[in-house]
């Protein structure tokens, strides 16, 4: 193995010297839709490069779960300096890898919960919700949904982060009664898809009355398409919260730049791009407030969230219950 290591070392050294001779490069791993043309990626890249004297490179890696898998795969030798796009269901697992370094960001977040994670900085958040088309009477909670004839399409918690969010939502709202809720919901579920895109596509094609998405999804239709017929159904149990976070890798070769990016992340330049590109709520409301149209969205009275340290254990339990209830 020695010669190979040597070769790798030489290769790495060459890459490092050429990189340093030019503008420093900050590599940010994120999920796919963040870097798409309509996502926040392009706007944020431009805004940060204006102030950082660096080259910001986003690398898209599937969805949030794939992001963590990628970082685990690469370990301490990862090219990434910052990982952006994990959520609180994943942060405990991410912290357990020991790959992340503490941050020094200290601002007042507009997140409906107390934020005190030493390693991760929230950049946006949203509530999961079932989105429907005008014309049906939306159920007021999971029990009403289960009793109705409404057809829903959800995502598989084994392959998608929103799917996992729904699992935690039912678990957080109903605890030990969750299996019974799932059993009652079984005949409402048209199908379970691999990811959010497939579900939402099926819903828009009319395959289901409702799809698991976010309370902010109607904002997209309203603002970008001037279509006011999509609504999110308010549930009396409260809505599960997804807080999306970013963290700095301990092995980053650009630690100062990474810190600078995390600081930048909670400023207006970054946060003002979030509502109409990522279609989520900004973690720190920009001074101009939210874009017009967001005031039409429902605002749940109760925000449900499983503490991130409890998430992995609860997830395993909830997944088993879910599989059992829906496999019958």
């Amino acid at each position: 193995m020695k010669p190979i290591h040597l070769a790798a070392g030489v290769l790495a050294a060459t890459v490092a010297t050429t990189a340093q001779a030019e503008t420093p490069v900050l590599t940010v791993y994120t999920y796919d839709s963040f870097v798409s043309d309509w996502g926040p990626g392009p706007v944020i890249e431009k805004a940060f490069e204006e102030v950082c004297d660096c080259d910001l490179q986003f690398v898209g890696t599937g969805d949030g779960a794939a992001l963590l898998a990628r970082v685990k795969l690469e370990g301490a030798r990862s090219d990434a300096d910052v990982v952006l796009g994990l959520d609180t269901n994943l942060t405990a697992a991410a912290t357990a890898t020991g790959l992340f370094a503490p941050h020094s960001v200290d601002v007042a977040y507009d997140v409906p919960m107390e934020w005190s994670d030493p390693n991760f900085v929230p950049f946006d958040w949203g509530y999961f919700a079932f989105v429907y088309n005008d014309g049906i009477t939306p159920p007021k909670n999971f029990r009403e949904l289960a009793d109705s004839d409404l057809k829903i399409v959800i995502q598989d918690p084994r392959s998608s982060t929103p799917g996992l969010g729904l699992l935690m939502w039912v678990k957080a709202a109903y605890g030990d009664e969750a299996p019974a809720i799932w059993a009652d919901l079984a005949d409402n579920i048209v199908t379970v898809t691999k990811g959010w895109s497939e579900s939402y596509g099926l819903f828009l094609e009319g395959e289901a009355d409702m799809a698991l998405s976010y309370t902010t999804s109607p904002a997209y239709h309203l603002i970008a398409e001037e279509d006011a017929t999509k609504k999110a159904a308010p549930f009396s149990e409260g809505h599960y919260l997804q807080v999306e976070v970013a963290g700095k890798l301990a092995a980053s070769d650009q630690p100062e730049l990474a810190d600078k990016f995390l600081d930048f992340m909670v400023t207006d330049a970054f946060q003002s791009a979030i509502p109409t590109t990522n279609w989520m709520y900004p973690a720190v409301t920009p001074k101009d407030g939210l874009p017009e149209g967001f005031e039409t969205l429902i605002t749940p009275e109760t925000a449900l969230l499983v503490p991130s340290e409890d998430a992995p254990a609860l997830r395993d339990e909830a997944l088993q219950e879910w599989l059992q209830a829906l496999s019958k």
């Binding site: 870097v35 986003f58 898998a69 795969l73 598989d156 048209v190 379970v192 497939e198 599989l323």
Partner: protein, 519 residues
């Protein structure tokens, strides 16, 4: 080895087969090596194994059972637009899963055309989610492939035999018994095995149309093990099981395949004397029309929904399209470099055991191959730099089983027809390939290359693991558009994908058929 009169060197075939096995084994080994935990499977995994086997078995059975009459009808009828129709029937096979699923749902779904008609007539709407939906989609994907494979075998029957049969006054039933049955025996087991293996690795179809956790396949379990649990040990175990099941299916099917070799005819256009006009003709016409409607109407709906979006596609979609074209070209080259020597070896030996090695390429989870190679490449180079070559390589591996299934019978026939003459003339090595084998199997090479090009164009497997924003392929870009609520642009991208995949297939296939000695 005295089975064949032809002196095809086995070294190339052995080398290629070894390379295939090595590429997959290295990936599996890398995953297993990085696995730190134990290697255990839970009851849910076993349920996934059972469901996977069952749906794959049914899918293969139904696809092939339907393909036989359709291929027969196509084989004995001449009509305007026949070759275009045959080419067009190949389209579902190359669609990205989500595109095909949306197309199927536009026809058979809750708000689909069929249910609208049923509702209009006062019937209860039917739901296709569940095993029925999975099978429907798998038949939609695989019926064209099975039809093409069987048709190709059928068309390999020399024209003289039909002439002879006609002179002997054989009834259609007798013609079937004497001429067609042996060909079916030769082609059907392979087609069954191939489709079985394809459906083993099914994941997104089974999940989306399966209706929920009941429809869990091994591939989903692999996905979960990699992505959420990062349990490489379990992922490796599951990958190994999938490989084992596919390998066993392949070996079994190939072992059952009797050796049927047809001696060469004069290569004239096959004229069928055994299918008189009258009822039979209408039956054939109905079969062809039904199959075409089943396959083309969903496709049409995809095209229609894509049309409004295609004019407003963003630049990065075209950049991604270019990447896809590039990957597709490389993948075809790699495929032919692997498949031709292997087909030469298999085609001249008695048993097709080597073909099992080729089938492994499809049975191996792309996620497993991708992750394995990621682990292997990572110490030496940034994986994103190698994203496209690795994707091309994996795509070639995935197309290899098709290519072998298509090429091997062709090589066998060429060897049977021209082998003794070639041997007498002392042809060997590259001259034998260039002058005898390649011209003889040109239609098969074209078809195989076309399939590989199209499959590679539509593949969304490995690239997702490696890509950064500059190396996206078209299917990946399409998913990104969907993720950004850009459903219309995504539909446009899907249409572009169909055009490209189909164009690539058409070019290769037409090249092959142009040189064909008999239509």
């Amino acid at each position: 080895m005295a089975a064949s009169p032809v002196q095809i060197s086995r070294l190339g075939g052995i080398g290629a087969a070894t390379l295939v096995v090595a590429l997959i084994a290295a990936a599996l080994g890398a995953v297993a090596w990085r696995a730190e935990g134990g290697y255990s499977l839970g009851p849910a995994d076993w349920a996934a194994v059972r469901f996977t086997l069952w749906q794959a078995f049914l899918s293969a059975l139904i696809s092939v059972a339907l393909a036989v009459p359709v291929a027969r009808a196509l084989a004995r009828r001449r009509f305007a637009g026949r070759s275009a129709l045959i080419a067009l029937l190949g389209a579902p096979f190359i669609l990205p899963v989500i595109v095909a699923v949306l197309g199927i749902l536009a026809v058979f779904g809750r708000g689909g055309w069929v249910n609208q008609l049923l509702g209009y007539w006062g019937f209860v709407p039917l739901s296709i989610y569940g095993l029925g939906g999975v099978l429907l989609a798998h038949v939609f994907f695989n019926l064209p492939l099975a039809t093409r494979l069987i048709l190709q075998g059928w068309q390999g029957i020399p024209a003289e035999r039909f002439r002879l049969a006609a002179q002997l006054g054989l009834t259609p039933r007798m013609v079937f018994r004497v001429l067609e049955w042996p060909v079916l025996l030769r082609v059907v087991p392979g087609a069954l095995a191939l489709i079985f293996v394809i459906c083993l690795a099914s994941f997104a179809v089974a999940l989306t149309l399966g209706g929920g956790p009941r429809a869990t396949t091994i591939e989903l379990a692999i996905y979960q093990a990699f992505l959420f649990d990062f349990d490489l040990g379990r992922a490796a175990m599951l990958s190994l099981m999938q490989l084992g099941m596919a390998g066993a299916a392949a070996v079994l099917a190939l072992w059952l395949v009797p050796q049927v070799s047809l001696t060469g005819g004069m290569g004239r256009m096959v004229r069928r004397w055994d299918a008189p006009t009258g009822v039979l003709r209408w039956v054939d016409a109905a079969l062809i029309a039904l199959a075409a409607a089943f396959l083309l109407v969903p496709l049409l709906s995809v095209v229609l929904s894509g049309l409004p979006g295609i004019t407003a596609l963003p630049a990065n979609v075209f950049r991604a399209a270019w990447s896809s074209v590039w990957v597709s070209c490389v993948s075809v080259c790699v495929l032919l470099a692997l498949a031709l020597p292997m087909a030469g070896w298999i085609g001249t030996s008695r048993r097709g055991g080597v073909e099992a090695a080729g089938l492994l390429g499809f049975a191996a989870s792309p996620l497993m191959i991708g992750t394995g190679w990621f682990i292997l490449i990572y110490p030496f180079a940034p994986p994103s730099a190698l994203a496209l070559p690795v994707t091309a390589l994996v795509n070639a591996l995935m197309a290899l089983p098709f290519a072998l299934r298509i090429l091997v019978p062709g090589v066998r026939d060429v060897v049977a027809a021209q082998g003794r003459l070639s041997a007498a003339l002392g042809l060997r090595g590259w001259r034998l390939w260039l002058w005898v084998i390649l011209p003889g199997v040109r239609p098969q090479v074209g078809f195989a290359a076309g399939l590989a090009a199209a499959l590679s164009m539509g593949d969304l497997g490995v690239i997702a693991l490696f890509a950064d924003q500059d190396h996206a392929t078209l299917p990946l870009q399409m998913y990104r558009l969907m993720g950004a609520y850009q459903m219309q642009a995504a539909a446009g991208a899907a249409l572009l994908l169909i055009i490209l995949a189909f164009g690539a297939f058409w070019i290769c296939d037409a090249w092959g058929r142009r040189g064909a000695i008999s239509e």
